[in-house]
């Protein structure tokens, strides 16, 4: 009735801290109430069939809902995956529910539902690239959705929205674009399947402390003014629009608060280039003049 199209969605969490969900709850406009209850774009309502933190039901009730959604809405539902996929020891390190008294590894859910979904959003760095649980020595054999899909020959369209956690706007904006414009074209995504809308530029390019970098004025300890490069900032090699968008309704963001960027949207997070507190080494860092010169050439 009422001519509103229902878009079924299933949100599955695996090797995750739940921070991507909590970050999504922080969306301001639309509010999370708008997303759950109202038409997120006119005539379209996301029907969130399952979310572990929100769903009223527990146990068998919700396991059935997940299975039914996969069966009844094959090719029509959106799958949102939060968390990495533990694959060691047959996926035993992350179990979501039981079927005929057999535990169901999260890995199995990703494959089963991944094949049937209209599109998959890998939400957060763990789902996109392995993230923290996939950090050395990767005790539970965590893999990204991208790697699982490659290995299992799953060709469902995949969008990576990394970030630890991802900004709520990145998620809401991506869902809205899916509803308005349909599946992303290959030129909409970068080499790591991140939407260029949000991950198109380096932190360093738009950083509010960039002028300090170009002037060679570097903070020597926390609380100092100056560029945070020597205190370990990963902004020069990290793609995301945090400096422009800012966080938590725009009140702050990492570099504004005096801490370096931790590179949390990057596939190398958190292992790359040493400590969060150590200066990047051997990195070719663009300077403003050089950047424009390259454009002019």
């Amino acid at each position: 009735m009422s001519g509103v199209k229902e878009i079924p969605a299933v949100w599955m969490g695996g090797g995750t801290c739940g921070g991507c969900s909590i970050s999504a709850l922080n969306t301001v406009a639309p509010s999370i109430k708008n997303v759950l209850i109202d038409e997120v774009v006119p005539g379209r309502h996301i029907s969130l069939k399952f979310h572990t933190n929100i769903s009223a039901g527990s146990g068998d009730l919700v396991i059935r809902v997940i299975e039914d959604t996969g069966r009844e809405y094959e090719g029509q539902f959106l799958l949102i995956v939060e968390g990495g996929v533990p694959t060691a020891d047959g996926g035993v390190y992350c179990i979501v529910g039981e079927r005929n008294e057999e535990p169901i590894p999260f890995y199995q859910w990703v494959v089963e539902l991944g094949k049937k979904a209209m599109a998959v959003i890998a939400l957060g760095t763990c789902a996109s690239f392995g993230g923290i649980p996939g950090a050395k020595p990767n005790p539970t054999g965590v893999k990204s959705i991208m790697d699982i899909f490659k290995e299992d020959g799953i060709t469902t369209p995949l969008i990576n929205l990394p970030g630890c956690p991802p900004h709520p706007d990145w998620f809401i904006g991506t869902v809205a674009k899916l509803l308005i414009a349909g599946l992303p074209k290959s030129e909409d995504l970068d080499d790591w399947l991140r939407p260029k809308d949000f991950y198109g530029q380096l932190i360093h390019e738009n950083c509010q402390r960039r002028a300090y970098f170009d002037e060679g004025k570097f903070a020597k300890k926390f609380g100092d003014p100056g560029c945070l490069y020597e205190l370990g900032c990963k902004g020069p090699i990290t793609y995301a629009d945090c400096p422009i968008r800012q966080w938590n309704n725009g009140v702050n963001w990492c570099i504004k608060s005096g801490m370096g960027c931790q590179g949390c949207t990057q596939p190398e997070f958190p292992d790359f280039l040493g400590s969060f507190y150590e200066k990047l080494t051997d990195v070719d860092i663009p300077r403003i003049g050089e950047y424009w010169k390259k454009l002019e050439d």
């Binding site: 995750t16 179990i95 609380g223």
Partner: protein
């Protein structure tokens, strides 16, 4: 005799399975199993100690700021600067933790627990002009009720009018909790997973504009707690009064205390804190906190047996997924060899036992209101009430802490990281006692152990055969309708379990629930 398996338990953080044996309508045996293991302790080994805080906060997207703070305290202590952190940073840490905990309690009551008591579908009969309720009515009339159904059916007791009011508060609370995150981020950079709390203090420096905005934000969240949250908990208690008698638990309580009122003592167990350190029992006598009394047992957990009974400083995390007899990868921490509950109820009980005037006043107000004696606190409703009182106590202090900030003055002290050292950081997180233990060798993390609130509460049996607190709270409970076991999920959720924090596990196929054999 029947088995009730609830897997997954939703509206908590993380992967939890609860299994009970019910005979003659009564829970005879209960087992809690965490269903996720990530191995943070292994991931931390060999890293730069300073990185611990940015990695351990990512144990949990819900309690992240509690880990941030506990880890920063453990690093301050390992670096020998625990008593040198500038007061500005101490106030900022209190404020970020304070805003975070209040929003966390709001999240738990409204978004994790309330749907066990409040029936969203009753908004279908709403006839008024409130836009929120009208939009929910329209949502219901479209017929797609996910994620609010399916659910257990039956025991929803509120009148439609009260139900509708609580649903509108559910929506209002969604707003308040993200505002709590915003206020935390004003000083902490961003949330979840803050960056401005660091060993040595804070990377932020307070400014007058931040003080102004924080004052307004502190007032708004305090007013919500006073005018909406606390009265709503009372409404639930008035309507579901039998839950003052259900879910008692182990009857022993442990708190590490939280919110440093003074930073000069390097020993966190002795610091003046807003919520007091110590232990107590249902008799409400107070004992001081002694961290040496903590050991972790793993006979029923999926770890190698020779790692049982260790103090966190000596702790090992050696997984053994198919160990005979094991049923959880949550370890079983014990204090003085005994089972202890942690969390808001423990904080309130310890404060009351220690004679803290503010705690006594709050508790006595509640007891007078319900014309009850203190033993009703040890129950499902007692936990919800204690959580609301914790939120209230914090909310009433936030504005004073904002006014203690010194704009433009340092909030960070530089330090030299030692070659070797040990540190411990303890806080009472929203969900209870949280400890981080670090051993540094060659300026690298040699060992790191976190003993987190849900490890205490959702622990399996220990080597001595004692059940964990949630298991004890379940055993003996009467379940009226085995198809809709409200009592079980209401008891479990009253503890506000957070399995991402508890870090661990799985269950192997065809397991008997210990001595009970299921036909």
């Amino acid at each position: 005799m029947g088995k009730i398996v609830i897997d997954p338990v939703t509206r908590i953080e993380g992967h939890l399975k609860v299994e009970t044996i019910v005979d003659g309508g009564e829970v005879k045996e209960a087992g809690c199993s965490g269903m996720l293991f990530r191995g943070f302790e292994k991931i931390l080994e060999g890293r730069d100690p300073r990185d611990a805080q940015l990695i351990t906060e990512r144990i949990c997207g819900v309690c992240n700021h509690c880990h941030t703070t506990a880890s920063a305290l453990s690093l301050d202590s390992a670096f020998g600067i625990a008593d040198k952190i500038p007061d500005n940073a101490r106030h900022m840490r209190n404020l970020t933790m304070g805003f975070h905990q209040v929003q966390d309690h709001i999240l738990h009551f409204y978004h994790l627990a309330a749907l066990d008591y409040v029936d969203v579908t009753k908004v279908a009969t709403y006839e008024g002009n409130d836009r929120t309720l009208k939009s929910i009515k329209a949502f219901i009339s479209r017929g797609e009720l996910a994620p609010f159904v399916p659910r257990y059916e039956g025991d929803y007791r509120f009148s439609p009018a009260l139900d509708q009011e609580l649903v509108s508060h559910y929506v209002q609370a969604l707003d308040m909790r993200h505002k709590g995150h915003e206020a935390t981020a004003v000083l902490a950079g961003k949330l979840p997973h803050a960056c401005a709390v660091t060993p040595g203090g804070m990377t932020e420096i307070p400014t007058v504009d931040k003080i102004a905005t924080l004052l307004a934000r502190a007032r708004e969240i305090r007013e919500f707690v006073e005018d909406i949250y606390v009265p709503d908990v009372i409404k639930v208690a008035e309507t579901y009064g039998d839950y003052f008698e259900i879910g008692k638990g182990c009857g022993r309580f442990l708190s590490y205390g939280i919110f440093d009122l003074d930073g000069s003592d390097p020993d966190y167990t002795k610091r003046a804190r807003l919520f007091k350190q110590g232990s107590t029992s249902v008799g409400l006598e107070h004992s001081p906190l002694d961290l040496d009394q903590i050991n972790e047992w793993i006979k029923y957990s999926w770890y190698e047996d020779n790692t049982s009974g260790l103090h966190p400083f000596d702790g090992e995390t050696r997984p053994m997924p198919r160990k005979e007899g094991g049923y959880s990868w949550i370890k079983a921490p014990r204090y003085n060899g005994e089972v202890y509950e942690v969390g808001p109820l423990a904080r309130i009980a310890v404060g009351y036992a220690a004679g803290d005037p503010a705690t006594k006043e709050m508790v006595n107000f509640v007891l007078d209101y319900f014309k009850a004696s203190p033993d009703v606190l040890f129950s499902v409703l007692g936990r919800h009430a204690a959580r609301a009182l914790c939120a209230l106590h914090i909310a009433k202090n936030l504005e004073d802490w904002v006014l203690s900030l010194k704009p433009g003055e340092p909030a960070y002290i530089d330090y030299t990281m030692p070659e070797e050292g040990t540190g411990v950081g303890i806080v009472d997180a929203a969900r209870g006692a949280l400890g981080h233990w670090i051993v540094i060798k060659d300026r690298k993390i040699h060992k790191y152990q976190c003993v987190v609130p849900t490890t205490w509460n959702a622990s399996p049996m220990d080597d001595m055969g004692n059940h964990g607190p949630i298991e004890q709270a379940l055993i003996g409970t009467r379940v009226r309708d085995e198809k809709n076991p409200f009592e079980i999920v209401r008891i479990v959720r009253s503890f506000d379990p957070c399995i991402a924090c508890a870090v661990h596990l799985l269950n192997h196929k065809g397991r008997e629930l210990r001595r009970y054999i299921i036909a």
